[in-house]
Amino acid sequence: MIVAGIDVGGKNVHIVIIKEGQILGKGAAPTGIKKAEAVEHLYDDVLKKMGLARKDVERVVATGSAAKRVAFATGFITDAAADARGVIKLFPKARTVIDVGAEEGRSIKMSPEGKVMDFAVNGKCAAGTGTFVEAMSRALEVSVDEISHLTLASTQNLSINAQCAVFGESEVVSLIHQKVSKPDIARAVMNAIAGRVASVARIAGLEDDVVLVGGMAKNLGFIDSLKKNLAMDVVVPENPDYMGALGAAEAALAAVTTDGVKIRVFEKETIS
């Protein structure tokens, strides 16, 4: 059976198409303002590249903040459950999943079977998310890739005091005025977001192995700061931003969704 997992996030849509045991294809595109359209276009693109048609896909499970924009979904699953399912499949020893996307950061503690035991979310606030890094990169006048490399070249371990992306931007500007070097400012930015992410993770509980997923997991500077802040090793999969979509696809395969038809995959409600 061929199934699809679609993760409609604040910034990007990710799609994974799988068959039992193998990933057949995947694709990503910016969500933009017209989310439903972005989903439709990407889905058709991905299928086309694989030589498949929509009818070849038996089930489609959607996840992500704008999951409901997937008009053709056969089921939905929460972000936390998707993360857990995706990660446990690739990393059977994983017990903690930290997912930092563009607009939300969350931490999930799982059982050996991949069941969500506890989780904590940093939502509704850009600090502690990819948006924070984007804003700081703008203030520093570098790209998000560049800020990652700059971090690794830092010589001081400063931090940003502001706990807000908007105030953080002014703080970066004043650090620039104080002639602090770009690498050191970049490190300060990564320390700030790593600190917030680690705080959220401690609330859910930390247990080895810790797996980091989501768009921010592609940022080496962030990974470095996070490892130091947690004082723990962190495993990062290839294509970490596809984990949500992969988990949704796995859920489709197992015919488990949260739209009331089948078993609920998680214990706690996301409140924020």
Partner: protein
């Protein structure tokens, strides 16, 4: 009063200064000053024998000490006083520890309480102050003493910066947003994102959908008024209710806040009738600096501080 500056910087309030023509400071006993260095604007106020003598309202630059010096210079500009004539100066605000001419620093919560009491009178019981990077709710007694306070200086939403980011985004000067937010056919639902950065994307989406600008301003002002209301309700608002800080000049937020709270804000006029009669300017952004200068006066009178006057 200084002219409104026509610049492309949509989020900047104009700078102003003034001196009281009815006071001869050379015949006075005690001269104190308060310097409120905020993240966006800096105010310096000079009180002569506890009376309102002069002020300067300037933009805070990239460093606090220079901003304090500039603010104080601006306050003194229309007077023939020099800094060395001042007995005691108190720094307050975000940059209070970096006010070079201050002998002491006092938190802006206490200074705003005291200043609001001076400006609006002993009936004031609740003050909401929104500065560039914070929002404070303060309950006071009839002497301007703090009874209860709650502050947010962590999150940009519900702070002056939140309004500035918006003004910058839609290219409208902050002082126009209030009036224009009422030039609408219907009141739209408030912006739903509680975070300024996410609200920016939401606003961009609305602009793209062709929603009229004035309506978007109305939606943003509503959202801000709602946030402030939530903060105030944790303290319980009592009349006389006053708003200080830059946001008091934004009727788009103020009127909507009054409606949500069911409480009217006190009129922006001096408590002392002769001040009104003589046409003294009433600038809500001065409350912190006024309070600081009054504390200086009180500390000297109580013998808890020594005059630093040099000339």
């Amino acid at each position: 009063m200084a002219e409104v500056q026509k610049t492309k910087e949509f989020w900047r309030w104009p700078e102003t200064n003034w001196v009281n023509p009815n006071i001869n400071w050379k015949k006075s006993e005690v001269i104190t000053a308060g310097v409120d260095v905020g993240s966006v604007s800096t105010q310096a106020v000079i009180m002569v024998d506890g009376e309102f003598f002069a002020f300067g309202n300037t933009r805070t630059g990239s460093d606090s000490p220079n901003s304090a010096i500039k603010g104080m210079g601006y306050a003194l500009e229309k007077t023939d006083m020099i800094i060395e004539n001042i007995d005691y100066c108190i720094g307050t605000g975000y940059g209070r520890v970096n006010v070079p001419m201050a002998q002491q620093s006092i938190t802006e919560i206490s200074c705003h309480a005291r200043g609001a009491n001076y400006m609006y009178g002993p009936e004031v019981r609740t003050i909401m102050d929104m500065g560039g990077q914070d929002c404070k709710a303060i309950n006071v007694d009839d002497k301007g003493k703090v009874l209860n306070f709650m502050m947010n200086d962590k999150c940009a939403a519900g702070t002056g910066r939140g309004m500035e980011v918006f003004a910058d985004l839609i290219h409208v000067p902050v002082w126009e947003i209030g009036p224009r937010s009422f030039q609408i056919e219907k009141q739209p639902p408030p912006i739903s994102s509680t975070c300024v950065i996410f609200a920016k994307s939401e606003v961009m989406g609305l602009l793209e959908q062709g929603v009229p600008e004035n309506e978007i301003m109305a939606a943003y002002c509503s959202a801000m008024a709602h946030r402030i209301m939530e903060l105030l309700n944790r303290l319980s608002v009592k009349e006389k209710f006053v708003i200080t800080g830059g946001i008091a000049k934004n009727e788009g937020v103020v009127k909507r806040l009054e409606k949500e709270l069911g409480v009217k804000t006190a009129g922006r006029v001096w408590y002392k009738k002769e001040f009104i009669e003589r046409g003294y300017p009433f600038d809500t952004q001065l409350a912190g600096a006024i309070g600081a200068a009054i504390f200086g006066d009180a500390l000297l009178k109580m013998g808890k501080a020594k005059s630093a006057r040099k000339a």
